[in-house]
């Protein structure tokens, strides 16, 4: 094969990758990790009502998702696990403000491996020697880490416990570390353990100063605004709320 022919082949191949195929519109939903199971099910239910459309999900730490959106990721809907991240999105003019609404709430819990001998009764006991490592979402970008940090700061335990902390990239990674027994305790949401994971047990519920409210909004300027709005409405609808409740989320 001559070089120019080869170049044309490569170029046409690259073009096929770059140009999206024309078919029923898809929307991309960036959602907090804790929503993984609930939103996957909501997506399937949504696709049943609108078979010509597809919902693609990108799950991750709310802070990481915000960074992707602010750098121009083609996202249509953003659902975060805290108000702070959504406030930042709003401040950066990334979302359609009137579509912002809270759609679920959650509780912060401490989980321990199912086989753990130590029994925690209060948050202070995380300082005991039987607890060597504590999984916590990185407070810089993971909401569950921020909630947990605030709760620990409220009882002046944050600085003391810092050497034990294992920062995770999202809440589900922390849950996985606890399930594998790599850490002795971890901060996750109540909904993360609602499915009854046999490898972890919930030790205690942690009161948070701010309620854990999940906001959602349509992301500006991706040409799918109407479909995005329909999806958002679907999450607020009875069907959507029922699926969220089945996965252990509380109503906002």
């Amino acid at each position: 094969m001559k070089l120019p022919t080869l170049a044309i082949w490569i170029l046409s191949g690259a073009t096929a990758l770059v140009v999206p195929p024309a078919c029923g519109a898809d929307i991309v939903v960036s959602a907090a990790s804790s929503l993984t199971n609930a939103f996957s099910e909501i997506g399937k239910a949504f696709e049943k009502t609108k078979p010509e459309h597809k919902v693609l999900f990108s799950f991750g730490a709310s802070g990481s998702l915000l960074q992707q959106i602010s750098r121009g990721a083609p996202v249509d809907v953003f659902a975060s696990a805290d108000q702070e991240t959504m406030d930042r999105a709003q401040k950066q003019n990334l979302i359609v403000v009137e579509t912002r609404r809270n759609f679920a709430s959650n509780k912060l819990v401490v989980v321990v491996p199912a086989g753990a001998k130590a029994n925690l009764v209060e948050l202070n006991e995380l300082a005991s020697t039987s607890i060597q490592r504590i999984a916590i979402g990185n407070p810089e970008s993971v909401p569950v880490g921020r909630y947990a940090k605030a709760a620990l700061e409220a009882i002046n335990a944050w600085e003391r416990l810092l050497p034990k902390m294992i920062f995770t990239q999202n809440v589900r990674q922390g849950l996985d570390y606890v399930a594998r027994g790599e850490v002795d305790a971890g901060f996750v949401y109540l909904s993360d353990v609602s499915a009854g994971n046999p490898k972890v047990k919930t030790a205690l519920q942690v009161p948070t100063a701010k309620p854990i409210l999940y906001p959602m909004a349509v992301v500006k300027g991706n040409g799918q605004e109407n479909l995005a709005r329909t999806f958002v409405q679907f999450v607020y609808s009875e069907t959507g709320q029922k699926i969220l409740a089945n996965h252990g989320f509380l109503s906002p």
Binding site: A61, S141, F167, Q169
Partner: protein
């Protein structure tokens, strides 16, 4: 900002240096063995040893968690016998980086050993040099540049290691957060100033290492 960058830099150099040392010791020994001895399954072993280079880092990270995690077979044994746990420690990062860097040492060294003309070695033997003497006075000096090149590549790879390290050693500032992890963290948190500083620092360090290795590897006639 300098303080925030200095810690990850020093940790990165420490982890990469130990990982390279470990990979060199194991890699050179394995390469010598494979270059010299013919046995069944030699090429399969070669493929297995090359795996860390081609496998996605996440796959490797998962393997490592299963092996050296607290409930992994090796991790469990280490914990029960010595009270050592590699997970979330810089030694764990060294372990991950060494595994990733091993194929680079091993491949380069095996090729270097195989390229040594056996007639030269035989000539030494006819002159009454012992086997150990042949290795250190003939084989090693002739293969040295190939081994060194493998070591340099291993060091570079260990410095940039990200995926497996993130899974095995976590991302603990001041403890296991290497430069590549610190950059990732800064970008995720939207701290672009810190990220800019860190990537420039990383680039400068890499260029220095490449120039230094280029000088070291320059043939001396």
């Amino acid at each position: 900002m300098l303080a925030e960058a200095l810690l990850p830099l020093l940790l990165t150099l420490k982890v990469a240096a130990w990982a390279t040392l470990a990979a060199m010791l194991v890699g050179v020994a394995l390469a010598l063995w494979m270059a010299r001895c013919r046995f069944r399954g030699r090429e399969i072993l070669d493929a297995v040893l090359t795996l860390p280079m081609v496998m996605p880092p996440t796959v490797l990270g998962y393997y490592l968690i299963v092996v050296i995690g607290r409930n992994g077979w090796m991790g469990h044994w280490l914990w029960e016998s010595f009270g050592v746990n590699l997970m979330f420690t810089w030694q764990g990062a060294v372990f991950a980086a060494a595994i990733v860097a091993l194929p680079l040492v091993f491949k380069g060294t095996r090729a270097a050993f195989e390229a040594v003309d056996s007639q030269t070695e035989n000539a030494a033997r006819t002159l009454g040099v012992s086997e150990v003497g042949v290795f250190f006075r003939v084989t090693l000096p002739l293969a040295w540049r190939g081994i060194l090149a493998g070591g340099m590549l291993a060091f570079a790879r260990a410095m940039g290691e990200f995926g497996a390290t993130l899974m095995v050693a976590g991302n603990l500032p001041g403890r296991t957060q290497t430069l590549s992890l610190a950059v990732y963290d800064a970008v995720q948190a939207g701290q672009d100033d810190l990220a800019n500083f860190l990537v420039v620092l990383t680039s400068v360090v890499c260029v220095v290492i490449l120039v230094a290795s280029g000088r070291l590897l320059k043939p001396k006639y």
